[in-house]
């Protein structure tokens, strides 16, 4: 019954030419999403990747277990000195992420271009 989470890793650059890795998620983010969220993040090089963008554009449902996975990702990224930005959350989940304090550790942006412009 829980919808699988798909994840894809893309490379892009900022307007100034800096490389940025984008983790694109699709489906639900819940307790069943550990491999898609944490697994895909852990497959990235801790030394080569300095900035990670999380793309939630195609995510419709996130529950507290899913939010906990995002917090775990942020924790690992902070320990590795990586910067994390997120974009594409609905207005509702932007509110929920803000309520639980995630904005202190990851900037939230409406779209990829806006997020990249801040790197």
């Amino acid at each position: 019954m829980q919808t699988d989470t798909k994840s894809r890793i893309d490379q892009t650059t900022t307007p100034s030419g800096q490389p940025v890795t984008v983790l694109r998620f699709e489906g639900d983010i819940s307790s069943a999403s550990k491999e898609a969220v944490i697994g895909s993040y852990q497959s990235l090089s801790k030394t080569a990747v300095k900035t990670v963008l999380l793309d939630f554009t195609k995510v419709e449902y996130i529950n507290y277990s899913g939010i906990a996975l995002v917090i775990q990702l942020l924790m690992e990224a902070a320990n590795s000195g990586q910067k994390v930005l997120a974009f594409g959350l609905s207005a509702h989940f932007t509110k929920v992420f803000t309520m639980v304090g995630i904005t202190k550790y990851a900037g939230l942006f409406p779209d990829q271009a806006t997020a990249l412009a801040t790197v």
Binding site: Y64, S65, A68, L69, H92, V100, Y105
Partner: protein, 150 residues
């Protein structure tokens, strides 16, 4: 299943204690709220609150025992929607606590443990009731129609 009294229409759903089925309650609550005229923003709040209440009931109340079900009753009144989510557990002994993101980030607080906080923050009323004899506990949520909505 539905029942209507003079001023309240009731819809009941029973869910298996399996994660993912909270989405059935979430969709039902959204449909009822839409029929009542709630704004989309409030419906999104309700969906998350109902989903989190059902997940708590499935995981903590019924401990993922698929022989037990979670009952969800939606009572639509003239100016408010009340949702009761019932399980066979002993009830929540803790109170909603605002998550401390710094403590979570430093591994000093469970990265989960925010469901009750979200529920309370997203609805107008939230109450956790411990059932008699340590069984049949429920959470009761209420969202009210704004004057512009009613």
């Amino acid at each position: 299943m539905t029942a209507t009294t003079a001023r309240t229409t009731t819809v009941e759903v029973r869910l298996p204690s399996r994660l993912g089925f909270e989405k059935v309650a979430m969709s039902t609550a959204a449909s009822v709220a839409k029929l009542m005229g709630f704004r989309e923003e409030r419906i999104d709040d309700l969906k998350t609150a109902v989903a989190e209440a059902c997940i708590n009931a499935i995981e903590h109340g019924n401990r993922l025992n698929e022989k037990l079900s979670v009952g969800v009753t939606l009572s639509a009144g003239t100016d408010a929607l009340e949702v009761k989510v019932m399980d066979d557990g002993k009830g929540m002994k803790t109170h909603p606590v605002k998550p401390d993101i710094d403590r979570k980030m430093h591994g000093e607080e469970d990265p989960r443990g925010m469901g009750m906080f979200l529920i309370q923050a997203l609805v107008d009323e939230a109450e956790w009731v411990v059932g008699a004899n340590g069984k049949g506990s429920y959470v009761r949520l209420v969202i009210r129609l704004d004057k512009e909505e009613a």
